[in-house]
Symmetry: C2
Subunit: 337 residues, 2 copies
Amino acid sequence: MAERIGRQTLRLTEDVHVGAYAAAGGKKEGEGPLGGGFDLISEDAWFGQDSWEKAETAMLRGCLGACLAKWDVPTRRPELLLGGDLLNQCISSAYAVRECAEPYLGLYGACSTMAEGLMLAALLVDGGGFASACALTGSHFCTAERQYRFPLEYGGQRTPTAQWTVTGAGAAVLEKGGGTLRVTHVTPGRIVDAGVTDACNMGAAMAPAAFDTITAHFRDTGRDFGDYDAVFTGDLGAIGHDILQDLLQKDGRSPGLRYMDCGVLLYDLKTQDVHAGGSGCGCSAAVLCAHILPAMERGVWRRVLFAGTGALMSPLSVQQGCSIPGICHAVAIERED
Amino acid sequence: MAERIGRQTLRLTEDVHVGAYAAAGGKKEGEGPLGGGFDLISEDAWFGQDSWEKAETAMLRGCLGACLAKWDVPTRRPELLLGGDLLNQCISSAYAVRECAEPYLGLYGACSTMAEGLMLAALLVDGGGFASACALTGSHFCTAERQYRFPLEYGGQRTPTAQWTVTGAGAAVLEKGGGTLRVTHVTPGRIVDAGVTDACNMGAAMAPAAFDTITAHFRDTGRDFGDYDAVFTGDLGAIGHDILQDLLQKDGRSPGLRYMDCGVLLYDLKTQDVHAGGSGCGCSAAVLCAHILPAMERGVWRRVLFAGTGALMSPLSVQQGCSIPGICHAVAIERED
């Protein structure tokens, strides 16, 4: 049963391990620097479907299937599914698990959904009576563009601060005992609204929330960047990454090369024309499952802080002049030998 | 720390009580049969704001404030907030708690969000390291009509099977010990899709999910309708209520007058022109906090099963010909003397 430490952090007291994980992605994601880590890559944006929403659903379903097939017994099922996505009413995740016989909890954490799902899965396996739980999320460039911005057919110009919604997904099963990678702490985030109203600069809107949660995690645990081999934010992109580094340095911290952003890592920012980098639920989910967890298994990093970031706005709230609230949830993962 | 019983149910092992609760509603809800139970009623649909989305946000903020003001120490704050709503990207709940200093977890369970939030709050207080957690949700007729169906200005006709989205909200704090009403069991639901494609007949789409979760709860706990003083579904409305009764009777069960639906109770179906009854996140949330919990405190019922129901679809998924998946989460609440 989780133990509260400090104002905002929970320390898990049971052995909660990553049992299995998988990442799925589109063609562009497969061509990026992390392409080799994906379990499933589509040759186009369609994933064999006739609408982009159905394609997103198929991608999520495929990602969940790939994850469960890699679990210790490939026919085993998790006791609980936690999912969410960016589509209105979170349809792609709900439709993706529609045929599953397990209980399902729908989440909305915008691009922080993977961290929120992992955190809840960890707490519910630790003390909530579940032996295992699976967190699943993803996003699709084509569904996000037409829902949040313009239909692709318009050929709209993008600002340099804009990010590219990742066509990708991640799924991870947490279970009691039995693995190399253990979830040790979670720090749920509070909403931080820095007053940013530019929906084409999400990195700036989310960076203050990332600062709030990461420093809360450090305050509660007595740790700092030196105690982690790597600290990842979800999808601040190049601009948000620099803003967060500034905020941390002004706070007297030295993140150095230990701090990285999933949105910066997933694409080659020089050649792949994604402006400030990747974003979307699929960004941190895919980087976690295609890059971070595999690298931890290989021993590259022993202790990692995964800090998923989200912007809790809608096109309508931006049209009504509301500023963009950010949130960030952090999950500490440690390699055990 | 919660104990799993049967395939799908968790029994709480700690004393998790309802610490405080409140309901907010619009004019129509105040004029209905449960109007006297609301803590906060707006004289119009605007709640003092200049857009319906902002009105929904203000209603949720007011409801949370009214709830916390009724807690044992009115300046006390819950350690965690759980919220969600029907608007695209769940903006009304996120904006409602934007100024709160507590961690926030966004949920999407469609109209089952109150049950999902209560369930997670109960599990996280029981074994997740939190001493208290507050579940908050609501809906607004005017925001829902224009988002899901037509702008009100069109004056569109409604089918007899259609339900009326409740302008209402509910908030409830769960805490360790210290109250009369204890949460004893939770049964998270799985998705059930009966193939209904008529978005104007949500009751039919959700009734099979309610049947699935309620019978799973009975199977896991060894209970039946006779063990509860009252069993409430969230918002099946008059048509879904009758379908569920049929399904239960065919299963050899006798729900009788013990089974009620929040969407049937909230309005006077004969005079208030709401067709098949109320719906929306605010429906079960407001009925729980304006009617069920107060009646339990007065001793009318000692043991209640609150089974929130949701339809996990979007206007877009319906336009693309997809059927409407339903879900239902159940929470057992018991009066202790």
